[in-house]
C-alpha cells in the first residue's frame, strides 16, 4: 500500500474542514472497502481522515420513523431490537451481506459508499472507465457474468454490490448529508446514479460532503417481507441477483407493496411499474409472474450474464411468494 498521511477527527465539522484542505484525501470508516482497494492500487488517497470517532453512532426512533447514524456498524443495525421488530427487511438484507467479521467493521455510511466488485475495476492492468475514464470497459466484451441487465451504458455495465442498500431503497429511506455549504437530504433511490457517460461517479455525493446518516419512514412492512439473495455459494458471496420484497396485505389483497433488486444495475433497482401493477390485486402466483414480466421490460444482457434474464424474474416471483407467506 502506498503510504499516506493520517488524521483522526472527532466532529463532523472537523471532518469536512480537513477534507476541504486535502482534496485528494478520503474518509475512512470501517476500512473494509477502502483498504482493500488501496492494497490493489485502485485508489491512493494522500490522506486518510478517520471518522470513527464522530458522534454518528445512534439508532433512534423518531416521530416519523427510524434514524440511523452513518457510523453505526452493520451488525449493530442488524441486531437492533427496533430494527428487528419494525424494519425486519433491513435486518434480513444486512444478515445476507458479507460475513460476521466484516459486518462488525462495516459502517452504514461506508456500506452506502462501497464501490462495485466488477473485476475489471479491481484489476489495474485492465481497462475500466470507472477507474480510469476513457480507458474503455473491459466487461462489455469480457467476462461479464456478475454484470448489469438494467440501466447500463456502453461505458460501464458494473453493478452496485450492497445488500443493505436494496432494503433501504425499498423502504423509501432518505440519506442525510453534511457539507461545506450546510446540510441537505436526498431520497435513497436518487442517491446512487446510473453510469451514463460518467461511470466514475457512483452516486450524487458532492466533493467535500459526508454522509451523516439515513432515516426510514414508519411503515407496515413487518410480517410479509423477504430478502432473497441468489449467489454462487450459500453465504459470504455477493449477489448474482437479489430481491427485497415487502407487502402490506388486507386479507388476500395487496394494499401496499415495495420491490427492489440488487445485482442487476449500477444502483439499487426499484421496480416501480411492478409495484403499481400489484397494488390492489389479489395475492396469487399468476399475478406475481405478471408483475415480474412487467419488471423485466427493457432488460438487456451481455453474454455471460444472459442467465440473469431468467433468474431475475424467477427471483421476483419467489421473493413475493415467500413474503406473502
Amino acid at each position: 500500500m502506498i503510504n499516506f498521511e493520517y488524521t483522526r477527527v472527532s466532529s463532523v465539522k472537523a471532518a469536512i474542514d480537513v477534507l476541504a484542505k486535502n482534496p485528494t484525501g478520503s474518509f475512512i470508516a470501517g476500512g473494509t472497502n477502502l483498504i482493500d482497494l488501496m492494497k490493489r492500487g485502485v485508489t491512493a488517497p494522500s490522506r486518510l481522515i478517520d471518522i470513527n470517532n464522530l458522534p454518528l453512532k445512534q439508532i433512534e426512533e423518531t416521530k416519523t420513523g427510524l434514524s440511523i447514524g452513518a457510523l453505526v456498524i452493520n451488525s449493530d443495525v442488524e441486531e437492533n431490537d427496533i430494527v428487528q421488530k419494525k424494519y425486519p427487511l433491513l435486518a434480513m438484507a444486512l444478515k445476507a451481506g458479507a460475513s460476521a467479521q466484516l459486518r462488525n467493521m462495516a459502517t452504514v455510511g461506508g456500506n452506502i459508499m462501497q464501490r462495485t466488485r466488477c473485476t475489471y475495476f479491481h484489476d489495474t492492468a485492465m481497462p475500466c472507465n470507472k477507474r480510469e475514464p476513457g480507458s474503455g470497459c473491459g466487461a462489455l466484451q469480457g467476462y461479464n457474468r456478475m454484470h448489469a441487465i438494467f440501466g447500463a451504458s456502453d461505458k460501464c455495465i458494473a453493478v452496485h454490490p450492497s445488500d443493505m442498500c436494496i432494503a433501504l431503497a425499498a423502504l423509501d429511506a432518505t440519506v442525510h448529508i453534511s457539507g461545506p455549504k450546510g446540510e441537505r437530504k436526498i431520497l435513497f433511490t436518487n442517491f446512487h446514479r446510473l453510469p451514463g457517460d460518467t461511470p466514475g461517479k457512483d452516486n450524487t455525493l458532492l466533493k467535500g460532503e459526508i454522509i451523516a446518516g439515513v432515516t426510514i419512514p414508519e411503515n407496515n412492512f413487518i410480517k410479509n417481507i423477504y430478502y432473497l439473495k441468489i449467489r454462487d455459494r450459500a453465504s459470504y458471496a455477493f449477489a448474482l441477483v437479489s430481491v427485497a420484497a415487502a407487502l402490506e396485505l388486507s386479507g388476500e389483497t395487496v394494499k401496499n407493496v415495495r420491490l427492489a433488486m440488487g445485482g442487476v444495475a449500477h444502483k439499487p433497482w426499484r421496480l416501480t411499474e411492478a409495484e403499481k401493477f400489484l397494488t390492489g390485486k389479489r395475492v396469487s402466483k399468476e399475478t406475481f409472474i405478471q408483475a415480474a414480466e412487467i419488471a423485466m421490460k427493457g432488460a438487456k444482457a451481455y453474454g455471460h450474464n444472459n442467465f440473469k434474464l431468467k433468474m431475475a424474474p424467477a427471483a421476483i416471483v419467489e421473493a413475493l411468494m415467500k413474503a406473502a407467506g
Partner: protein, 210 residues
C-alpha cells in the same frame, strides 16, 4: 540496492527474526518500486521522505499487555501483530477480507485484522489466538478443535477458533445451520467444516466459561 547485512545466529528464533527483517525490508523496497513519481521525487530529498513515512504514536493492548509504539499509518492490524509484535499465530490468507484467517477480537468483537489499520485501533483491547489459553491450560475451543479433528493443515485454525468463540458469545451458535451461516467468514481449504461445526456445537452445549 544495498548489500544485506549477514546476521550470524545460533538458534532458530534468531534465523526466524532475520527472515522477517529481510521480508520487512524487501516489502518496503517493493512499495517504493510502485510509488508514484511524486513520491520518488520526494525520495531524493531525505527530509521529504521522512515526512511521507511519518509514524503515528499508537497505544494498544494486545492479550492483556499494553504497547506504546510508533507505526506507519499504512500498517494493517494484521501486519502490526505479526511483524511488530511477532505474534504470528494470526494468519495472513488472502489479505483482502475474503478468508477469515486473520480474525482477532477488537474490544470483544471479531474482525478481519487485514482490513483494519493498526492506527484505527488506538486505545482498543485486541485478543489473538496467543491470548486465549490460561497458561498451559488450553481454551475449551482449542481443546474441542483437537478432540473433533477440526483441522487438517491448520492454517485457517487460529482464525476459525477466534471466530468460533465470538460466534458463541454473540448467541449465533444455537444449531448447526446457524453455526454454518455465522462461521461463513472463515474459509477452510482443507474442508474441515463438519468437524469445526461439531466442535463449536459441543463447546456451546458444554456451558464453558468463554
Amino acid at each position: 540496492m544495498s548489500k544485506e547485512k549477514i546476521i550470524h545466529c545460533k538458534n532458530d528464533s534468531c534465523l526466524h527474526e532475520g527472515r522477517r527483517d529481510f521480508l520487512k525490508k524487501s516489502s518496503a523496497l517493493a512499495a517504493l518500486a510502485v510509488a508514484s513519481p511524486a513520491i520518488l521525487k520526494a525520495a531524493e530529498d531525505d527530509e521529504k521522505i521522512a515526512a511521507w513515512f511519518e509514524k503515528i504514536p499508537l497505544q494498544i493492548e494486545v492479550n492483556g499487555i499494553a504497547h506504546n509504539l510508533n507505526v506507519e499509518p499504512r500498517v494493517t492490524l494484521l501486519d502490526f501483530l505479526r511483524e511488530y509484535l511477532h505474534l504470528t499465530g494470526t494468519k495472513k490468507g488472502c489479505d483482502h477480507g475474503q478468508c477469515g484467517a486473520c480474525t482477532v477480537h477488537a474490544d470483544g468483537k471479531r474482525i478481519n485484522s487485514c482490513l483494519s489499520l493498526a492506527v484505527m485501533n488506538e486505545g482498543k483491547k485486541i485478543t489473538t489466538i496467543e491470548g486465549i489459553a490460561k497458561g498451559d491450560k488450553l481454551h475449551p475451543m482449542q481443546e474441542a478443535f483437537i478432540r473433533h479433528d477440526g483441522f487438517q493443515c491448520g492454517y485457517c485454525t487460529p482464525g476459525q477458533i477466534m471466530s468460533a468463540i465470538a460466534c458463541i458469545k454473540e448467541g449465533h451458535a444455537n444449531n448447526e445451520d446457524e453455526v454454518r451461516e455465522f462461521m461463513s467468514g472463515n474459509i477452510c481449504r482443507c474442508g474441515a467444516y463438519p468437524n469445526i461445526a461439531d466442535a463449536i456445537i459441543e463447546v456451546k452445549n458444554g456451558g464453558y466459561e468463554l
